[in-house]
């Protein structure tokens, strides 16, 4: 898949977010239980995003004794950015799953969970190092 194909697919996906009726134009309506399961998965990702955003707030409020101002700002912003990425991905994945179910196609696969896991692991290791060695204290 060339870069232009990927860009086109991305543009198409974003258009789909804002014109959801187009999803219902194609394929046949799946059993509503599958759509509800898809919705619950969407909500689970939203909760993940909320946890990341809440974590961003918590780092700034509760680690004042451990971290310097800039370490706190960097960690908070990383967590908040992770929350936003999670949210956008939740909407995108929900639309794509819904469309795949209508078309009878395979559900979309994604490397996002792995990337998110790596990000959280990096942040956790950084936190342990900072708190343990008091580099920033």
């Amino acid at each position: 898949m060339s870069v232009f194909d990927q860009l086109g697919a991305g543009r198409d996906a974003v258009r789909l977010w804002f014109a959801p009726d187009r999803v219902q134009e194609e394929g046949e309506t799946p059993d509503y239980r599958f759509s509800l399961a898809n919705e619950r998965t969407f909500l689970a990702w939203i909760r993940t995003a909320l946890a990341l955003i809440g974590g961003g707030f918590a780092v700034d409020q509760f680690l004042t004794d451990h971290l310097t101002h800039w370490a706190r700002v960097a960690l908070s912003l990383a967590l908040l950015a992770g929350g936003v990425a999670c949210t956008l991905r939740a909407v995108n994945h929900w639309v794509r799953c819904e469309r795949a179910m209508r078309r009878g196609a395979n559900l979309p696969v994604s490397r996002f969970p792995a990337v998110l896991a790596a990000l959280v692991a990096v942040i956790a290791v950084a936190m342990v190092a900072l708190v343990l060695f008091g580099w920033a204290g």
């Binding site: 959801p20 509800l36 919705e39 909320l50 809440g54 700034d60 700002v73 908070s76 929350g83 639309v95």
Partner: protein, 108 residues
């Protein structure tokens, strides 16, 4: 020949699916409340007009989410719940982004 058969509603628990989805909306609302409280707490120590404004913004985001969730939970009470409207999904996403941008502005 059952391969192409569309699932019928008597196959499994048709009644519990909307219930589970409703509960998922409830716990998401609860998570949103916790995050909104953290957001409000972020600026509460400062005091003054900007703190009042920030707390109001956090409360507003939570109320918007509550309204979206309530609306959807009413829809789920019907016999054959319709697909989640994309406007609701985008509204939820907008609430999350608003909280994150708010947080970034305060932290910065």
């Amino acid at each position: 020949m059952t391969a192409g058969r569309r699932p019928v509603e008597t196959d499994r628990d048709p009644g519990l699916q909307p219930e589970r989805t409703r509960l998922a909306w409830r716990r998401t609302t609860l998570s949103c409340a916790v995050t909104a409280v953290l957001a409000g707490r972020q600026v509460l120590n400062g005091g003054g007009a900007s703190a009042t404004l920030a707390v109001s913004l956090a409360a507003l985001v939570f109320l918007a989410f509550l309204w979206l969730a309530h609306h959807r939970m009413l829809q789920l009470g019907r016999p054959r719940p319709a697909l989640l409207p994309a406007s609701s999904a985008l509204g939820v996403a907008a609430c999350m982004v608003a909280l994150a941008v708010f947080g970034a502005a305060v932290v910065w």
